[in-house]
Amino acid sequence: LYFPRKEYLENVYIDEPAGMPLLRIHALKDSHEEVAHFHLCQNLIISRARSHENNWFQIREKKGLLYLSKSLDREDFNMLSVGNWMPLSKVMLYVFLSSHPFQEKECDSATRTTVFLSLINATAPACSSLTARQLCFTEMDLSFHIKENKPPGTFHQLQLPSVHHLCQNLSISYKLLAAEGVPFRYNETTTGVQVTQRLDREERERYELIAKCTVREGFREMQVEVPFLVNVLDEDDSPPFLPNGTDTADAVVEFNRKEGTVLSTLTVYDADTTPIYPLESSRKKYTGTIITDDPWISETFRVEHIFDEIHFSPNGSQVRGTRHEYKLVLNKSISVTEHRSFQLDVLVNDTEFHGPERSVMLHFNVSILPVSIQFSNITYQFTVNRNAERFAQIGKICIENCMKFRGVNITYKLLSPNASCYPVSILQGREDKYGTLYVNDSSVLCRPECKEIQYTVQATDKQSRKHTKTLLTVVLEGTLLKKEEDCPDSCAMSKHRAECEECGGLGVLTGRCQWRQGSGKGITTNYSTCTPSIKTCPDGICDVVEGRDPAVCPQDCTSGNIIGGHGKGIGNLGIKSGHGICYCFPRQNCYCEKDDIKEQLCDAVCK
């Protein structure tokens, strides 16, 4: 048994006679043989201020008719509305439902609906003074919910019991306006509205009818119409099905071998709705399990399930359903040497559906290709200017297809050459797929005997220990420039083009810093600044070489204060945008300000 509404509203005036009918409440059946018993359990709840024993209202156990058992006088009204400064006092009653006569302790567990009674501090108005709307309907919106697949039954009475009781001289008649073939019928004599057949939500989940009321008093006739809505409650009565019959998909693993990679996705539909809230309960409703007894497969793969609402329109009306997506995901990174193919089955089960075919089997054709760890056949050669300073970035090295790899950890190493010249080293950032060659010892660059240096580069896959080698030649060129006096050790400290291009600094390639002339007004990413190499700094990335020393490229790496109009970079690192010229004092502040600042050399305060 269940109520077709969560709450009812009704007005109660003072001095209405005991026995006065107030409200007719209906119950609908879950199964034919059930018989409804209505009961009022707890006290009267007075608009949350406090509760009070219920001396005034009772309900007919079989008919569900709420009536006044004792007239409400002015004193009762005042007592019930103490501490509630609202103009009218609202009291609440719980009506409980059971399929057998009631025992008191059942009040907690039984199904219930709430009745809001507005106590009005005046006697009932004369029928002639009421509008058609007040005579025909209360403030309550006529909206009901009916479970699908349940037996038919009456769920509402249009006629207001109190009006019918008091205004016998008026003729009040109702009609239910609805499209053809709608499963509802209005009974003229009882003014009851009945659902005439079992509903199927998957066919239609919402009915919008109109309740029309005609009031006749002598020659006068008044009409009023209000919407009459029925929502159909869903029950898990539909099995999962495949949208276009596809239950198989390929899942290829080649370069992307990283844990968490989504290899392939298959979709399952369900005509039923799936509530997302509370989350946990909806997750458990639909399961997706890998069917295998190979431990390697269950360790290496997992299935992730998400769902969202879609709409079906079986016969023109829109009905909510659910699209379930099952993703085959790598549960751990796969070694480069792994190489096999097999079919992986996933059993999707609608746990709450009790009919046949409650589950569907999905098939993923998995093929794991091996990948080779090798340098493409070229040997590497880089030229380095003898005036380059420490942390100058020379170039990048990586194996074939390196940029495509995910979840494969290749480390690069320079094997020390036999000669004594050893200016270059290699570094690799945590997320980098390549090695970065940089000048590590600039003093070697000045020694004339060091001209051309041969290195061996080794790349090793951490997981499989497989490795490969190639040759690297570093050629030193260029004539040595004179070292300028009192130059700062960081290019970023220079504020003007002149002082910038006169000096060197950590990370310079040719012995001199480079001036990047900005453009644009206000705060812009293209701010002016002095840099060891415009190509790598500032580029919004604090790369592994720049990260080694704050003086190399503070524009990309500073996490300190930036004074003046600016915008910080990703992770609050570096200067993404700046106003005018940005310059930095490594390990201290950075500044972004307009160039037209002729420092007051000695303003009035000196003296």
Binding site: K6, Q42, N43, I45, S47, R48, A49, R50, S51, H52, E53, V82, G83, N84, W85, K90, M92, K105, D108, T114, E139, S143, H145, N231, L233, D234, T273, T274, P275, I276, Y277, P278, L279, S282, F307, D308, E309, T322, G567, K568, G569, I570, G571, N572, K576
Partner: protein
Amino acid sequence: LSRAGDLMALPSSDCVVAEQLCLSDSTCNATYRTLENCALAKTRLLSLDHDSRVRCLNAELDLGNSSLLHCKCHRRMKKQEHCLRIFWTVHSSMTDGYFNLETSPYENPANEEHWKTDYNKLAALVSGSQLAGDATNSCLKATHVCNLSKKCFRLRTDYASICTKGAGSEDVCDRRKCHRGLRNFFEKVPEDFTKRILFCPCQDEFCGERRRKTIVPDCSFQYNTKPNCLWLLDSCLEDHICKSRLADFQQNCQPVDMSPDGCSLHNHAACLQAYMGMIGTPMTPNYVSNSSVEVSLWCTCENSGNQKEKCDQILGMFESNKCLENTIWSQMHLKQTALERQE
């Protein structure tokens, strides 16, 4: 019928005072302790067995009409959260699980003292100065006036700097601190300033965007995906302040079809205050775009299953609430009639 007799039925005072009075009386003290356990059990979603349910109900009856039952809280009182906890302790068990809370724990706005503010003086200062620039943008003008009031300026900067920290880079802002900053702003700054900043009438989308961005929605309002409104409601009801603001909003912005202004209480000031009270809670509302005055919550009723009606009700409190809509329109002095607004 109140068993403990009329326990010091004082005029409605604030709940903190009422609690102290009750605790100093042995009977009331015992009753209050029972209610505290009932409230605690409820927050832990423990289902009460029949006897404890009866014990809780009787405890409420035993309170009779002691000042605890009619006590209220003030929006700008010092121990607001403590006061609200007491209120919900006393009113917890009656309508559990029912989200139409109706009775607001907050003092009726009419009896709240209204600040003497220097708004007009500062507004004149702004209008008089040629610094103010574009006078047609009323949101900008309201901001100028705020920026000239020490308190408004400082508390606005406080919430804005908290809510924008982490913006632009991928780390996410601290929503809880941002919400506290916003609540601080709307509670401590006189309404003369906050009402005009939040409900400024706009002629164009540029002004509308400033209005929409006032509460730094990226941090205080939006998530990357829209949660279900039922989840939003639950996270509100678990938090005393949000639950109280929601009760206040439901009471003061209660829509009624048959009343001319669409409101049951016809108190636009109280409705505005209640709406602003929602800002900085898990159910923070905001303008939906820069070209309309419609407001909404950041949630959806998709995937609500059989609870779609209840979910629509939650969203409907903000999206299709005639009382709230009329209140906002009237604050913006846009005297168009409702008809004009339909076009």
